[in-house]
Amino acid sequence: MSEYTPMQAEIADIDIESPNTYLITLKLLDETTDFRYLPGQFVMISVFGLGECPISIASSPTRRSLQLCIRRAGKVTNAIMDCLVGDVVGIRGPYGNGFPLHRMMRDVVIAGGGSGFATLRSLINYISDRREMFGKVAIAYGARTSQDLYFMQEYKSWQRAGMEVAVTVDIGDELWKGNVGLVTGLIDRFDLNPGSAAICGPPVMINAVARKLMERGFHLSDIYVSMERHMKCGVGKCEHCTIGPYHTCQDGPVFSYDQVREVI
């Protein structure tokens, strides 16, 4: 069988994160599979008959369950979200490089915008479980409305693990008591030394956050960005995901800001 033949995984659990986003827990049918991954890596997930698409791994390798956080976006993602517990999907991977953890073991800023926060949850929970290996950690997360905020029930545990968590929304409403505004605004408040950073979100947000961090003395090559590109194969062959000589699926999706700033 070739690399393109997926493994089968059963949907073991479905949590609703927002009206159009579910956190799905997968269980590989072949339990002997050695599925090891790093925060920042992704899988190709498929619903047979509808196709495949790339989805970041939202769980941390330090914990047992394999989770993906999927937003309704089109054909394949809709089909996954229409699945029930017990249904079987295909997955192959893990693919991509993941975050360079050994280079991030100091003060860390984690900034997420919109659905890009899914891949950062893997990193956050990893740090949470390996807390002593990192310095001060601050999380800045922005979504469109309070309805669109993911993983709300976990913020407390992140704070208990000694991480600063700041959240904001673009559009406030009567139920929302928190911040309204841009993610960049949250970063000003963080009290930490220039260290490393992980960003995932829309291009304007990535650029704004990176600029802010550079003002605060972060080095370009210490700012890691998870990039989204159209992907079909996940293994550096189909050429859909190229950024210059890089294949986002293999050389990325995590790049240092100096590698990709011109194309964001």
């Binding site: 069988m1 070739s2 690399e3 393109y4 033949t5 089968q8 049918l29 498929s46 047979f48 008959g49 509808l50 196709g51 495949e52 976006a73 089109g74 993602t77 017990g86 249904d87 079987v88 295909g90 291009p203 989204e228 590109r229 159209h230 079909k232 194969c233 293994v235 550096g236 062959k237 189909c238 050429e239 859909h240 995901c241 190229t242 950024i243 210059g244 000589p245 194309v263």
Partner: protein, 332 residues
């Protein structure tokens, strides 16, 4: 191992081979030379088919695997790949295959490609007649085979000088032993003379560096305005290998791999509509940049073998080697 095959023995030679293996050869058709299964049809060995032989390694459409559902669980099956012999492919296309081997061989190697590649024997016809748009010599791809193949043959007038390069090539010659004669020193000399003539007739202004300079100089906005975005250039290029993966059939069906093209507007578009290469000019530039900058970084070789097909097929008034807009008349 070398041998000489008289021209009027070529058909008996192919007959012998086709009894053992499916032979794909350039057939003479109303639409020009076309690589297809040979079953005695007339051959066209003078022109290089517009559709490259790489389509037998990376087909326009192939089944990666079939999925069969039973009580919500799936089993997967791969189709078996029949052994084949590609007869009379040109050195440029052989060079393209060497490139595809490197691209698909990068970790994790693409077994869907190598399944076909391993089942395919390659017989190369060295080029003693140059096509109008050929510039293989500028890129180190021809006119004599530069890369490993099973058997190399050269038209030396009244026959072909055959040189087996691998055990499989020796077996091909042994299978048709009674049709062959011993090769002579003069045969080698005649081969060298004819190939030198072709080499001398090659354009000298399309080297890797010259094309890179043309890429820097080119007016991509103007070229983008002329490009129709048809993707023709990329579908005839033997090095192009972009593909798509999609499913057909529920609950049972097949996962397909189909050729795709970075020239097409939706190729890199993301869900939600953002597109890193929005304009035709950006996409055309990316096509060249990939061949002359990115692929050399990844594979060590330029991603163009100088076959000239992209220029031949392009319906737009674009000179594909000088990267200039041409007058419309020049194209007709």
């Amino acid at each position: 191992m070398k041998a000489f095959l008289e021209k009027d023995r070529l058909i008996p030679f192919l007959n012998t081979l086709s009894r053992q293996i499916e032979v794909i050869a350039p057939l003479a058709t109303e639409a020009g030379a076309v690589y297809s299964t040979w079953q005695g049809q007339p051959l066209d060995l003078r022109s290089n088919p517009l559709s490259p032989p790489t389509e037998f390694l990376l087909p326009h459409k192939e089944t990666l695997f079939r999925y069969i559902q039973e009580s919500g669980r799936y089993t997967f099956k791969e189709d078996s790949i029949p052994p084949r012999l590609l007869f009379a492919i040109r050195p440029c296309d052989l060079h393209a295959i060497a490139l595809l081997d490197r691209i698909f061989g990068s970790e994790p190697s693409d077994q869907a490609y190598f399944r076909r590649r391993r089942a395919t024997s390659l017989v190369v016809l060295n080029c003693t007649n140059r096509g109008d748009e050929c510039f293989c010599a500028c890129l180190g791809a021809g006119p004599e085979a530069q890369d490993p193949c099973d058997l190399e043959i050269t038209d030396i007038g009244d026959g072909y000088l055959c040189q087996a390069e691998t055990p499989a090539g020796v077996l091909i010659l042994q299978a048709a032993f009674n049709l062959l004669q011993p090769a002579q020193l003069e045969h080698d000399q005649e081969k060298a003379r004819r190939l030198q003539l072709v080499e001398d007739a090659m354009p000298r202004d399309r080297s890797y560096h010259q094309i890179r300079q043309a890429i820097e100089r080119a007016d991509w906005v103007a070229l983008g305005q002329e490009c129709l975005g048809c993707g023709g250039c990329s579908f005839v290029c033997p090095v192009c290998h972009c593909f798509n993966i999609l499913d057909r059939g529920v609950p049972d069906g097949e996962r397909l791999r189909c050729r795709d093209s970075c020239i097409l507007s939706g190729f890199s578009r993301l869900t939600g509509g953002a597109n890193p290469r929005r304009t035709a000019g950006q996409r055309l530039r990316h096509w060249y940049q990939d061949k002359f900058e990115d692929l050399p970084k990844i594979t060590g070789l330029p991603g163009c073998v100088g076959c000239g097909r992209c220029h031949l097929v392009c319906p737009a008034p674009i000179d594909r080697s000088d990267l200039k807009v041409e007058s419309r008349e020049a194209k007709i």
